[in-house]
């Protein structure tokens, strides 16, 4: 057998996690929360540009140099345009929508592409790429005899598998694919078990 065998240690090549279905009731799905780096960079850059430019101009005027034309033009616009002016309304609507979007970005987790995994260890948090999950499931479904091609789409709640079988009866293949994928989904070890939807058809003639 293997050389590095201690009592009770599993063979590294076959280390299998404890069966997820026997674990306790799942805790809350520990999703990763995105850092929101890009929105922060954009907002910070905009703030920096606006405040930096204004500061430079204010200091220049205080130092008895003429201010830039845009400041006087802006003051004039703010003092003369009425609130029902279409530009004002458009600008206010834009500000409202932008503000709403920033707020939504701030309070939602993001990273919807990553599915949380069970870890049985509060210090370790793990996620699986949705694309990776789809590939794993596709590989397992391809092992079923009769299956010519499979397309698997993994969502947060539903896994959709569409297979094409070129021999064997369709409902037999469907039953096999269903059981193989049910096991495979369980072996992914997700915190939230998705619902499986399997459809098998014949490949198009040609």
């Amino acid at each position: 057998m293997t050389t590095a065998e201690r009592a009770g240690a599993p063979d590294p090549a076959e280390a299998v996690p404890p069966d997820p279905s026997l674990a306790d009731a799942p805790g809350p799905a520990r999703r990763f929360w995105s850092v929101r780096r890009l929105p922060a960079v954009l907002v910070a850059a905009a703030l920096l540009a606006a405040s930096g430019l204004t500061l430079y101009d204010v200091v220049a005027v205080r130092a008895h140099r003429t201010g830039m034309a845009w400041r006087r033009a802006l003051a004039h616009q703010l003092a003369t345009r009425h609130l029902d002016d279409p530009w004002v309304l458009a600008g206010a609507s834009l500000a409202l929508l932008l503000g709403l979007w920033l707020f939504v970005l701030a309070v939602t987790p993001g990273l919807r592409r990553l599915l949380p995994l069970r870890t049985d260890d509060p210090d370790v948090r793990a996620v699986l790429d949705r694309r990776a999950a789809a590939l794993v499931l596709r590989d397992r479904a391809m092992e079923v005899p009769g299956v010519r091609s499979v397309r698997v789409g993994v969502g947060r709640r539903v896994v959709r598998a569409r297979a094409q079988a070129h021999f064997r009866a369709l409902d037999e293949v469907r039953r096999d694919v269903d059981s193989v994928l049910t096991d495979a989904v369980r072996e992914l070890g997700l915190t939230r078990a998705p619902v499986l939807s399997v459809r098998v058809g014949r490949p198009p003639k040609g």
Partner: protein, 198 residues
């Protein structure tokens, strides 16, 4: 930490924009009168005929002696804060070195990069893992691991995670003498062609 700061600032900026936009819209569409909204007497936007910043108001504020120093000071604070926030996004956040407990009462300083490479090599050697990237974050005395593993074809994600936890992470924890080593693991896969069996 950066996540929280970013989200708080983005949220506040969003609320500010919403408040400003809503205030101007209620004035411009005359909603105060139409919907009988209760507004305080100092509400700036009276109705569609009002303007955003009347000259009188502007000159009233400028007349104060403390106005311009306050403006310069406020803008300077804003510039510095924006600069600091921007710089925080672009910093790499990797641990330079971490303190390791040698087990005989001594402590040693280990280069963060060395520990990262060792863990990555061990993780890449795991069954079912194609490539591994490990970065160390957190504090000098309380490091945290961020690992991105690329799964080999036909690898089981839960099994790979289990091996990572019980081998690589446990090794790192015991060899560094750390009580706990928080880790964030991300599993991804490389696109590969489907192999038909039947």
């Amino acid at each position: 930490m950066l996540r929280t700061v970013n989200r708080v600032v983005l949220g506040l900026a969003g609320l500010l924009l919403v408040a400003l936009g809503a205030a101007v819209l209620t004035g411009g569409l005359d909603l105060v009168r139409r919907w009988h909204l209760p507004v305080p007497p100092e509400w700036p936007f009276d109705g569609p005929g009002d303007v955003l910043l009347p000259t009188a108001t502007r000159q009233h504020w400028r007349a104060h002696g403390w106005w311009w120093p306050a403006v310069v000071g406020g803008l300077a604070v804003l510039v510095l804060a924006a600069l600091a926030w921007l710089a925080a996004q672009l910093r790499p956040r990797r641990l330079r070195e971490t303190v390791v407990d040698c087990g005989d009462g001594d402590t040693a300083t280990v280069r963060g990069r060395g520990l990262e490479d060792a863990m990555a090599a061990e993780a890449a050697a795991l069954h079912g893992v194609d490539r591994a990237l490990v970065t160390l974050g957190g504090r000098r005395t309380a490091p945290a691991v961020r690992a991105v593993l690329t799964l080999a074809p036909h690898a089981g994600p839960a099994a790979v995670l289990y091996r990572l936890r019980t081998e690589v992470l446990r090794h790192a924890r015991t060899s560094a003498g750390l009580g706990r080593l928080p880790a964030e693991v991300r599993l991804r896969a490389v696109r590969h062609r489907a192999e038909r069996v039947g």
